[in-house]
Amino acid sequence: MELQAVLMAAGGGSRMMDLTYNTPKPLLPVGNKPLIWYPLNLLERVGFEEVIVITTKEVQKMISTDPKVKLDVKMKLDLVCIQEDADMGTADALRHIQQKVKTDVLVVSCDLITDAALHEVVDLFRAHNATLSMLMSKAHEFTETVPGQKGKKKTGEQRDFVGVDGTGKRLLFMANEADLDEGVVIRKSIMRKHPRMHIKTGLVDAHLYCLKKSVVDFLADNKSISSIRGELVPYLVRKQFSKSTNSPKVIDETHQNLKKNDSNVNLEIQISSRDEELLHLTQERSCWNDHRGDMSDAYHGGRLRCYVHIMDEGICYRVNTLAAYIEANRLAPKLFDEPAVHPSAVVSERCLIGADSIIGASCQISDKTSIKRSTIGVSTTVREKVKVTNSIIMHGVTIEEGCNIQGSVICSNAVIGRGADIKYCLVGSAQRIEPDAERTNEVIVGTDQLMEI
C-alpha cells in the first residue's frame, strides 16, 4: 500500500463561531452538501478506497443519525473519535492514530474545497523521495460583502512567508509573520546552497500534506509538537538545512526495522530518509542534478527534502472564515454537476430562479419569488413574494411572505417573519426575526451563545 488518507475533521471552526456554535464545522452546508463531503469526494475521485477520519463524537453521531447529512461516498470511512475538549492539535491527532498508520500518509483538512490535480503533489513526493510534500494556491481576493462586518475589512491575518527555489517546487523557507520579531531571517547555509530564492506571501496553504511514515513515528516520540501547520511543517523545512541531517549516513535496510522499535532512536535517523546502498549507487551513476553552478551533488547531499506544489489556477479554498464560507458557496456548484434545482423540491411556476442558484431537496418555493445567486438548503419553505439575492439559506428555514433577503447568511431552522428586510446579516441558528423587521449588517445570534463567550 502506498498512501493512507487521513482526514482531520475535529476542528472547531474558531474563526466563524457564529456559524459553528450549533453546527460543527465539518457538517456546515456548502452548496447543500456537508463541508466534509468535498475533501472526501476529492479523495474518492483520485482513487482512494479507505480514509481514516479523525473527528469528534458529536460529528460521528450526526453523520450516522441525521438523515439530512448525506455522505454518499463509496469509500470505507474509519471514524476515529477524539474528545472535543481535549484541545488536540492536528499533530496530536496524528500521534493518536500512530498505530493505524502503516505507510506514508496524506493528511487533508475537512475544510478544503479544491479541484486540484492531486497527482502533482504526490508525484513530487514520489519522484524526489521527499519527506514532506504540500499543496498551496494563489490566494484570491474575496469579493462578496461579509455580513456583520462593520467598516473596512481588517488588513487580514498574519501573512505567511513561503520561500521556494528557482523551479518553484522545492520548499526552502516557511514562517508566519507572528513568529518573526523584526524581519525575515534566512540562514547563510540556505543562501549558500540556494542563492536564488523566491519569497511569496500571497499564498493559501491548502493543508494537504504528504508525509513519510518516519515523520509520524517521529511525532510519537516528540510530544511537544501539536500542530502540523504551525509547528511540524516549519520544523521540517528548517531541518532540511541543519548540519546533522546532512552528514553522510548510509543506513542498511536491516537496521531500519531494529531502530524503529528502539525507543532511544536518534531524531535525525528517524527524520532523514533512508537511502539504501543501491539508491546511492543509482544517484552516483545518474547524470541528473537538481541545481547547477556549484560543486555539490544532487539535493546538496541532503536526505530530508520538502516540496510544494503551487496551483496557479483552479479552485482552492479553506473554509475557515465567514468570507471563505460565502465564497465557497458561490463556487461549489462548479465542482459537481448535479442539477441546480433538486428534483424533489416543489417549485411553483411563477417564480424566478436564477441560473446560478441551488435549490435543495424537499424545498417549497411559492409563487412570485425571485431567487438569484443564492443557495437554498434542504427542507426550506419560501413563501410568496420573497426576494432572495446573493444569500445562503441553510436547512429547515422558513421565510414568510414578502421578505427581502440580500447578501445574508441564514442558518438552519431560522424563521424570518413576513415583510422582513434583511441586508448583509447573519441570522444564527433557530433564530426568529420578527415581521417587518429591518436589519442591515448585523449578526443576529441567540443570547445563550453570547453567554458562552
Binding site: M1, E2, L3, Q4, A5, V46, G47, F48, E49, L106, A117, L118, H119, V122, D123, R126, A127, H128, N129, E276, L278, L279, L281, T282, Q283, E284, R285, S286, C287, W288, N289, R292, M295
Partner: protein, 421 residues
Amino acid sequence: GTSVVVYMVPQYSSIHIAAVVVSMFSTIICGFLFLLVVKRLPEHVQVDDPAVVKRLAKKLERQQIPLRSDYGYKVSLFSHLHQYSRKAPLTQLLSIPSTVIHPSIVRLGLQYSQGIVAGSNARSVALLHAFKQVIRDYTTPPNEELSRDLVNKLKPYISFLNQCRPLSASMGNAIKYIKKEISNIPSQCKEEEAKTKLLTCIDRYIEEKIVLAAKAISKYAIEKISDGDVILVYGYSSLVNNILCEAFEKSRKFRVIVVDSRPRLEGREALRRLVQRGISCTYVLISALSYILPEVSKVFLGAHALLANGYVMSRVGTSQIALVARTYNVPVLVCCETYKFCERVQTDSFVSNELDDPDDLMVTRKGKTQLENWQDVSSLGLLNLVYDVTPPDFVDLVITDLGMIPCTSVPVVLRVKNLDQ
C-alpha cells in the same frame, strides 16, 4: 526452410506418399521454427501502424496500465516512434494509492520520465532495486507457482516502465536475466528461500556486471592513458567518468576536454564531477569540435549499447565525434560493459531510436521564448533525438570487462555469452 528432395516416382506408391507426407510435415515444423527464431518487429517502432497501436492498447488494457498518448507533430522520418510530453505524466491516469502497480515501480517510472534517473547504468541499477522491493513484497497466491506467477506479475510493470520511457538495452538484458532466474526456481523450493535466492541473484548481477565490470574496464583503460594526454569525452558517461577519476588517482597526468550538446547539456554534470576531483578540464559545445580536435590525443566514449554488427549506439552526437576524430586521425576508444551488448542489428539511427519531449528544445532567454507556439506553425517540426549509431570503422577499440576487443568482435562475445547461458 529445408531443402527437401522429392524424387519423381512414375506411379503412385507408398514411398511417394510417405515422401510427400514427410516433406509437408517438415515444412510445417520448419515454419514454426522460423517463427520462433525470427523475432517480430517490436511495437515501439511501429507507431504509425494503426493495427499495432490497437494491439498495444488492448494489451495495456488487459494489464490495467493506462496508455500514454503521443504529443505534438512528429517529423515524418520518425513518425514510427513514440513522442511523449514530460508535462503529461502517466501518473495522472493512475489512481493515487497505486494498487495495480507496485509503488516502487510507480516511483521508478516517474523518475525515468522526469529524467531524475538517467544513464544506462543508473537506469539498470534503479530497475533492479525496484524489482528487489517487488520481490520482497510478493506473496505467492494459493495454487500458483512462484516461478510462473512472479514472471506474470512483472509483465505489467515492465509495460508501465516502457510507457514512461522506452527501455534501454541494458534494462532489457537485466530483465531477461531476472526472468530466467525466476523460471529456474525449482517448484519444491519454499517461498522465503526462493525470495532470498532471487535477491542474492540480483545483488550478484549488479556486483558482477556493473560494479566489478567498471573496475576491470578502468584497469584496462588506464593502461591506454599516458602522461600528457589530452582526452576528449562527450556528454556524461558514468563509466568514462569512473575511468578518468581512477586514472587521476593513480597519478596519471592528463587533461580532459568535455564536449557537450543541447538540449540535455549532460556535459555540465560530467564537468562538475571531474573538476570536483581536481582534474583540469575544458568545456566546449559540439559545434566547436573541429576547432578543439587538433589538441586531442584520444577520445573516450561511453555507449548505451553495442549492437551485434559492431555498431555503437550512444547519445546523439557520438557518431559525429567519432567521424571528426577519424578525420583528424585521433584514436577513438569506446568503453562498454558486456551486459550492454545486445543482439539487435542496426545500420542507421532512424529505424530504432527514442524521441524525447520536443518542448525541451525551447529556450527562454530574458523572459522570451521564441519557439513558444511552435505547434501553430504548420511547417515546423521539433525533433529531439536521443540516440545515434556509430559504425565500427570509426571506432578503434572497445574496452570491455572481458578485455580490449575490436568492434567487429562483438558477435563473438555475444555467441560466447549465449553458450554460457
